[in-house]
Symmetry: C2
Subunit: 184 residues, 2 copies
């Protein structure tokens, strides 16, 4: 199957079968896809925290509920394992840091690419994923011993989908997101 | 070939054969991989400008040289085609905008994921790519009619590698980027 067919078939999963586990071997292959991701100046500005123990999963499920009670993952207790993606200080070329007045110009995009690659590797292992964007930074730092201010950019939920129909993929039309040789 | 093998084999290309073109059909498949990318709140906060005319490529080659003359792509004139990835204002759920005090919390990661997927699709078509991070925003807006302040996040160079040995992939060790159930 070529890559585009894979992308057409992959869906974000929001209903997991809590009875089906994910192995450390599988999780390490998923982490490997993140580790191999290209990044700006090859800075690899990421740390991946695999969350697969019952105790740590309980904490994670609490940390992805915000103060006001809202969460992007009401189904979080069904999930077999999570990976927390933390943005790290990036070592970039001096000309980049000088021009953009920050070392982190590329870091968010790099972490996003790493997370995408983890999704693809999980898909190729027959696993399902959902990227969770919102989390409570203060709880994350406390529960997982994350150094203060190192931002959790996303949390990847990994498991086996419950047996329900996949959602249709809804995307903007090609001409809304693409043009040739000029913006319009 | 499974996804991880693909990742192990894919290299950023910094030496292209200028004699070998890339077709519109290929470019549209690459754009499609970007278009299908998942994003925070499905906001799809991107616009892709395909640059494949001689005139537009000339402008692009100028816009990825900074004021002080530095560039991440000294090999830019060999490249068959480029895709400019512009970050767009994101329509996200109100609770996200309220919590992070911005609509763009996820946008940079989303654009990074779209660019990664374009690299994978190019690889599956037998094409080579390099992600270029630095560009002159003012020139980009002027040359490509990009609305003021819509940030060019990256430029993807696409073509066929010249026949030279691939570089080794250099990555941090697993234990430097990954831990289990806690930061350390």
């Amino acid at each position: 199957m070529d890559f585009l067919e894979n992308m057409q078939q992959r869906r974000s999963c929001r209903s997991f079968d809590p009875a089906l586990p994910v192995s450390r071997e599988e999780l390490l292959k998923i982490v490997e896809a993140g580790r191999l991701t290209p990044s700006g100046c090859n800075s690899q500005p990421w740390k991946f925290i695999v969350v697969d123990s019952a105790e740590a999963k309980e904490k994670l499920c609490d940390a992805i509920v915000l103060e006001n009670g809202s969460t992007g993952a009401p189904w979080r207790h069904q999930v077999a394992a999570f990976i927390i993606l933390v943005e790290q200080p990036a070592k970039v070329m001096q000309c980049v840091a000088d021009y953009y007045q920050t070392t982190q110009r590329f870091a968010q995009g790099d972490v996003g690419a790493a997370c995408m690659n983890m999704c693809h590797e999980a898909f190729s292992l027959g696993l399902d994923t959902c990227i969770i964007g919102m989390s409570d930074q203060t709880k994350m730092e406390k529960y997982f011993n994350i150094p203060q201010g190192r931002e959790v950019r996303m949390v990847l939920a990994i498991g086996h989908a419950a047996n329900n129909p996949p959602m249709n993929k809804v995307r903007k039309a090609l001409d809304e997101v693409c043009s040739f040789n000029s913006w319009d």
